[in-house]
């Protein structure tokens, strides 16, 4: 073997080892039940089960229901199945549909950066510098899942959050984009009652890599994503064709054509100016 070939092989091996060492693995898995309002005037809160995977230097918050159903979709389509196969498999083994299938990666792809992905017909992705909420520690304590918890409050991007955190689990992390307390957030609820995260389980151990799902994302900014979501709720049919899909016609259960009323999404955060919070 020539020295040139040997050099290339050694370089490839070094790159492979380097890539492996950068990949974070889950050391702590925190499960939450969540309740989230979907539309501003929605009467009910949508249920979901969220997971916070915490690694050595990053974390990943996502919907367990959505990930499970995505795995079914990938498996069915991966072996040549069609949409009907996917639907029938979902009915048999799927979780309920998640209306909030977003992902939040903290300190990802590098320290101090947050990666957010979400769906609005297509998959969107943005990165932003991590913004630590300005917490006010309050009087009061409680016990969640056997852990002694303290109270804190913050107003973050248009919503006031009341949380319970435990210093018994010394990870400065929590559901969604909330973090920065001297312990893990086990309960978080916004003051309007639109969003609630309640811890239901904590597991320790090596539970797989923290990695962004490989798919076709549309790059955007947080502002562009909010604008997109608002226009999608305002007029879903126009948004659907704007995203490059064929024009679609809907009918209600009585066979009458559906005309979607303009709606306002209930948002976890308000990043666009000129919108009423």
């Amino acid at each position: 073997m020539s020295s040139k070939k040997l050099f290339i092989i050694v370089c490839c091996f070094a790159m492979h080892v380097s890539a492996q060492s950068e990949m974070d693995t889950t050391a702590l898995r925190v499960s939450y039940v969540s309740k989230m309002r979907y539309m501003e005037d929605g009467k009910n809160l949508s249920d979901d089960e969220k997971v916070l995977d915490i690694g050595k230097h990053s974390s990943h918050f996502y919907s367990r229901w959505s990930e499970h159903n995505n795995a079914i979709r990938d498996s069915i389509f991966g072996r040549g199945g069609n949409f009907q196969d996917y639907r029938s498999e979902l009915e048999k083994t799927g979780f309920p549909d998640s209306r909030t299938p977003f992902h939040v990666f903290k300190n990802y792809p590098k320290k101090g950066m947050l990666t957010y992905t979400d769906k609005e017909l297509k998959s969107f992705i943005y990165e932003e510098p991590m913004e630590r909420p300005d917490w006010k520690l309050s009087e009061g304590d409680t016990v969640v899942l056997g852990y002694h918890c303290k109270k804190a409050q913050t107003t973050f991007r248009g919503r006031t959050w009341n949380v319970w955190y435990t210093m018994d689990i010394p990870y400065s992390d929590g559901p969604w984009k909330l973090y920065g307390l001297p312990g893990l957030i086990l309960h978080a609820a916004d003051a309007k009652g639109d969003f609630i995260f309640d811890c239901i389980g904590i597991k320790q151990g090596n539970m797989g890599p923290i990695v962004l799902r490989k798919e076709k994302y549309i790059n955007c900014t947080p502002q562009e994503f909010e604008k997109n979501r608002r226009s999608s709720f305002e007029d879903p049919d126009s948004y659907e064709t704007k995203m490059g899909f064929p024009k679609i016609q809907g009918y209600d259960a009585k066979g009458r054509p559906i005309v979607h009323k303009p709606q306002v999404p209930c948002l976890l955060e308000y990043v666009l100016k000129n919108y009423k919070k």
């Binding site: 879903p236 659907e240 899909f245 679609i248 016609q249 979607h260």
Partner: protein, 63 residues
């Protein structure tokens, strides 16, 4: 003779129209969990169909 010619012309035009109409345009339809139905003409992948289904399922069902 004239009548025969006319018949052949009609048959040919019917064949031509049938040919044009037979050009396959995929018809797609689905029903959401709350009973709304959606239909459209066009060729989309199964993954895109799943995305469209989820989109309208979220809009129509739940609140």
């Amino acid at each position: 003779m004239k009548r025969l010619f006319l018949s052949i012309a009609l048959l040919a035009s019917a064949f031509f129209v049938n040919k044009v109409q037979a050009t396959p345009i995929a018809f797609n339809a689905f029903i959401t969990s709350c009973g709304t139905e959606y239909a459209f003409y066009g060729t989309v992948s199964d993954a895109a169909m799943a995305a469209i289904f989820d989109y309208y399922e979220h809009r129509d069902c739940g609140d």
